[in-house]
């Protein structure tokens, strides 16, 4: 099954690929790898803002991380032409806006990680780092970047 069919089966509609908020590009493909810029969580077009442990619940944060993952997919589709060119999700970097007491960054980051497994199966199983940060661009709750192996054009 191709990835578009799999997305449809899962009922996933990708968002419009967001323009970078500054002087860089969303994806660079080099040496068989796509480097995806840190993506912020948009749900129905609205940025999920706030901080875990303060004004963002565990469920909302996990949903936000999944939204970052969906935006990574949207950026890859825009850059590669098709998600069928994804060979392997190699590494995700998850930055979670956190109070000093919030230590469930892995649960939050799972929102993005489980999306990759759902969409790509074994090819979606990736290495990951997840850390707390005090604040993110535009007060986003989560930011996720990615390294993805791609098949030749």
């Amino acid at each position: 099954m191709n990835v578009d069919a799999r997305l449809a089966e899962l009922g996933i509609v990708l968002p419009q690929a967001a323009a970078p908020v500054a002087s860089y590009v969303p994806v660079v493909v080099q040496g068989g790898m796509a480097y995806v810029s840190g993506q912020l969580p948009f749900i129905d077009g609205a940025l999920v803002t706030g901080r875990l442990g303060e004004d963002v619940s565990l469920d909302k944060g996990t949903e936000a991380a999944r939204a970052c993952g969906l935006m990574i997919l949207a950026q890859l589709q825009a850059a590669l032409g098709s998600l069928d060119r994804v060979e392997r999700i190699v590494k995700l970097g998850a930055f979670v806006s956190s109070t000093l007491e919030f230590t469930d960054q892995p649960k939050i980051a799972n929102g993005a990680s489980e999306l990759m497994a759902e969409v790509f199966g074994d090819a979606g199983r990736h290495a990951r780092s997840a850390v707390g940060v005090p604040v993110l661009p535009l007060n986003a709750a989560v930011e996720v970047d990615a390294i993805v192996a791609v098949k030749p054009d």
Copy 2:
């Protein structure tokens, strides 16, 4: 000398490779590189928790970073079959749980960096970034991830 002999000479016993705390894998090998997930510091099976500048001393923090490095080696050994397949430690990313006043992240990260030099010699000399973070998963004191060049199987 092979790496196992070198570890024995240094008196280093690797820990059991820890299971990921969430939906991802410890190591992905792709394009000649092993991407190692962020590893937390376990000493004698117990996680080193707390924050530098607060309740974790410089010595304890450095020891914790070394423990992250040992876990990186344990994960590589489990994924590659043998540490003799390590060609070069390419990059370490060190995240140090820090108060606003603690600015010795490089000294802490040296715990992992010096381990790599001890074990691999010149092949252990790596690029690195080290930053402060307010909090880490499970309240860990340090988290370190890695990119490692590997020889073909």
Copy 3:
């Protein structure tokens, strides 16, 4: 035009490549990629210290990020022999020392991003992540690391 001529045209003088503040190396070249360690912002030899939203202005922070970018170029020149060996700036990672209220990390990181576009044109267009951190080594205001594709020697 070669990169040295382009730097001269832009009136850019690279700083002396700074020695690592600890046990690692500034650049590792592996598999066609140069991995550049996190660089701190030196202006006229003095480190730019402090925190955005507190004692570092938007302009000063942006200038600091540009200084990190200049140090990345200085490190690449020292490691590669010539900046003409740069094929593509692939990814920048920007860590901005930030108060809980400061959310303009992308504007700060642009200091480094726009430098790469000025110097390398299209080859300077890169993927990026930018996040807030509570504190950085030596109390630096900004730290930037890089992944850069290089042409064979």
